[in-house]
């Protein structure tokens, strides 16, 4: 009797402990995803309405030049942010992998920006990039009078300041991922390649980096979803300005949904962002989950 009751607790306890999380996930993640998707097909404006209007909101969304501008900014920011982070992270990881002294300390320093919130990063870089108090002022005070670095107030260049701040924050993290990947490689492979006559450059370009493909995928996925969801960094750094020049989809979605009372368009933009994330994630998950069969 006692034994069977014990078994009952063993059986129910894990399910009991996990169930609140499951309910929260189902309602607040998947439930609201479905609800938002539904709203995007209605004529909701200030308050949700449940009158279906088909793809009208999507048509309006893609007729809106601000949305197209936000999408283009996302492309510029995403490509540069992911690309530069990967290159900088990989180079730092390779340099750090050369058995240098105080590696632990250096690794921690490079990883620290990741511990900051994007709001902090954005605020600090806003000051640094501000022409009247930041880098420009400093260089001018050194005596270089003609120095100009005012990207943050230049509508054509402001998006690149977002890239700078984003890279500063995330490249240390990418370095840590790559470093873990490099450490996972059997050192005798490097020795074998040296005996085969390869120099260090060839060892990295022909063997190590190609064999780190899964690591590249992981880094790419993580950076891509940071890029697509980027909201706080832009808000803190430029507030979407000057004008709408650094608008990104997340800001567009927030402003249309909650400030301009156009819930339908906001929901439609949110669905487009979700689709973008899925478009990247699904092929990745598909390729990751089917590899064990081949191996």
């Amino acid at each position: 009797m006692l034994a069977s009751r014990k078994k009952g607790i063993d059986y129910w306890l894990p399910k009991l402990v996990v169930s609140p999380t499951l309910v929260i996930a189902l309602v607040f993640f998947y439930g609201f995803v479905l609800w938002t998707t539904f709203i995007s097909f209605t004529n909701s404006s200030f308050l949700p309405s449940y009158e279906l209007v088909g793809f009208d909101q999507y048509v309006r969304l893609f007729m809106n030049p601000r949305w197209l501008n936000a999408m283009w900014n996302l492309v510029v920011f995403g490509v540069l942010f992911i690309g530069i982070c990967m290159v900088v992270g990989l180079v730092m990881a390779i340099l750090l992998d050369q058995n240098i002294r105080a590696e632990g300390a250096i690794r921690t320093i490079y990883l620290y920006p990741m511990a900051l919130s994007f709001i902090v990063t954005g605020t600090v870089w806003k000051w640094l990039l501000n022409p009247t108090v930041g880098i420009e002022k400093f260089v001018i005070s050194l005596g270089w009078d003609s120095f100009v670095f005012d990207w943050i107030i230049d509508p054509d260049m402001a998006i690149y300041t977002v890239v700078i701040a984003g890279v500063w924050q995330a490249s240390g993290f990418v370095m840590a991922i790559f470093l873990a990947g490099l450490r996972g490689i059997d050192t005798s492979i490097i020795k074998a390649a040296q005996l085969d006559g390869a120099n260090l450059f060839a060892v990295y370009t022909r063997i190590i980096i190609p064999s780190m493909r899964p690591v590249f995928f992981s880094a790419f996925i993580m950076l891509a979803h940071i890029a697509i969801k980027s909201f706080d960094l832009v808000i803190a750094l430029t507030g979407g300005g000057p004008g709408n020049s650094t608008d990104v989809p997340a800001i567009f979605m927030y402003q249309f949904s909650f400030q301009r009372g156009q819930l339908g368009i906001g929901a439609a933009s949110a669905v487009i962002m979700l689709m973008t994330v899925l478009a990247i994630l699904v092929p990745y998950l598909y390729s990751e989950l089917r590899t064990p069969k081949n191996g």
């Binding site: 059997d186 005798s188 492979i189 020795k191 074998a192 390649a193 040296q194 005996l195 085969d196 006559g197 390869a198 120099n199 060839a202 022909r206 063997i207 190609p210 064999s211 493909r213 191996g295």
Partner: protein, 369 residues
């Protein structure tokens, strides 16, 4: 192919001295095995030969050139690693061709060379597979193929068989020996497995504590060990070491053993050792299990054979022979007898001690007498 000369090589990591004056002369086409317990410096020595680690002092000569300060890629050496170290991103063909591509060999010649090696090692069906799709034995072959492709002056093997299961290891051992006989290449091979060393080597270097204890043919090392360490390390089951007192007989010497309360004098062959200065003192008698056998009538009368009754403490049948653990001089002593002659545990059994190959060691220095 070339000779290899290692001249008084020392290697230290800070205060830790790994190699303490290693000198070896390897002639062209010889199969040399470095054997020893882990931490004896054998892998470090191999890495020094390859150039993967710098020597602290001393010289390494390959053929007529001093390669001590040359980079690994300039030494023209190929190495097979314990973990095989195949390039995971390349298929087998590319793995074998990599070294040739780096050395800028024309494409057509590379294809020819890959085909030759693949045929030699019978890995043609595997050429388009990735290393992750190969079994341990197949990876081992590919690793050897990669070494063979470049036709280097000398091959280094770092415990190449230790990741294989027991049966495959024996097969690959035979295959490696055949391959060496066919190609006649100079090979330096590291292992901790003394059976591998005995079966494969032309000459064995037994190492311990960064020093070569003995360098000789397998039979020399087995029959004529330089010290107690070599004697105990080579051979399985290992040699019995019995501390016993030396006594003076009419004209020769003998060592005294006690079994079941009775004292026996085992005559010492003067060809094996001169114990004149040890009379009354204790020496270590080294006698291999196969020299203590069941009673064979045709041997009983021989000069250096003594019949001794012992008490059986443990029996270990191996199929071909049965090993018997007996107690001599209150020390354990392993004996090898025919399975049908073996008695039961607790019984007494007559055994023949054959002293014609027995060796003797100093109790303190462990050196051979």
């Amino acid at each position: 192919m070339a000779e290899l000369k290692i001249d008084n090589v020392y290697k230290s990591f800070g205060e830790e001295h790994i190699l303490k004056g290693i000198s070896l002369d390897v002639t062209d086409g010889e199969f040399i095995i470095l054997v020893g317990p882990s931490g004896c410096g054998k892998s470090t020595l191999l890495n020094c030969i390859a150039g993967l680690e710098d020597v602290t002092t001393g010289d390494i000569l390959l053929g007529d050139t001093n390669v001590t300060y040359e980079a690994p890629k300039d030494r023209d050496i190929a190495m097979v690693f314990q973990s095989y170290a195949l390039y995971p991103n390349m298929n087998v063909r590319k793995n074998i061709a990599f070294g040739l591509e780096i050395r800028k060999m024309p494409k057509a010649e590379i294809a020819e060379e890959v085909a030759r090696v693949a045929k030699l090692l019978q890995i043609e069906p595997l050429l388009d597979r990735k290393p992750s799709q190969l079994s341990g034995g197949q990876r081992q072959r590919v690793a050897m193929g990669r070494a063979l492709a470049r036709r280097p002056k000398i091959y280094l093997f770092d415990e190449p068989l230790s990741n294989l299961d027991a049966k495959l290891r024996v097969e690959m051992r035979t295959e490696m020996k055949k391959l060496h006989q066919r190609l006649g290449t100079t090979i330096v091979y590291v292992t901790h497995d003394q059976i591998e060393a005995m079966t494969l080597a032309d000459r064995i270097a037994v190492m311990k504590g960064g020093i070569v204890q003995q360098f000789g043919t397998p039979q020399e090392v087995y029959d004529d060990p330089a010290n107690m360490f070599v004697a105990g390390f080579m051979g399985s089951p290992s040699m019995n070491f019995l501390r016993c007192e030396v006594t003076k007989q009419e004209k020769d010497y003998a060592v005294q053993i006690e079994s079941q309360g009775t004292i026996f004098q085992l005559p010492v062959d003067p060809k094996q050792a001169d114990l004149s200065s040890y009379v009354g003192k204790t020496v270590v008698l080294g006698i291999r299990p196969e020299q203590i056998t069941h009673v064979m009538p045709h041997l009983v009368a021989e000069q250096y054979i003594t019949q001794v009754p012992v008490k059986i403490e443990v029996t270990e049948p191996t199929g071909a022979d049965t090993l018997i653990l007996a107690r001599i001089n209150d020390q354990e002593c392993e004996c090898r007898v025919h399975p049908q002659e073996a008695g039961k545990v607790g019984e007494s059994m007559e055994l023949l001690f054959n002293m014609s190959k027995a060796v003797f060691f100093d109790e303190q220095t462990e050196a051979r007498l």
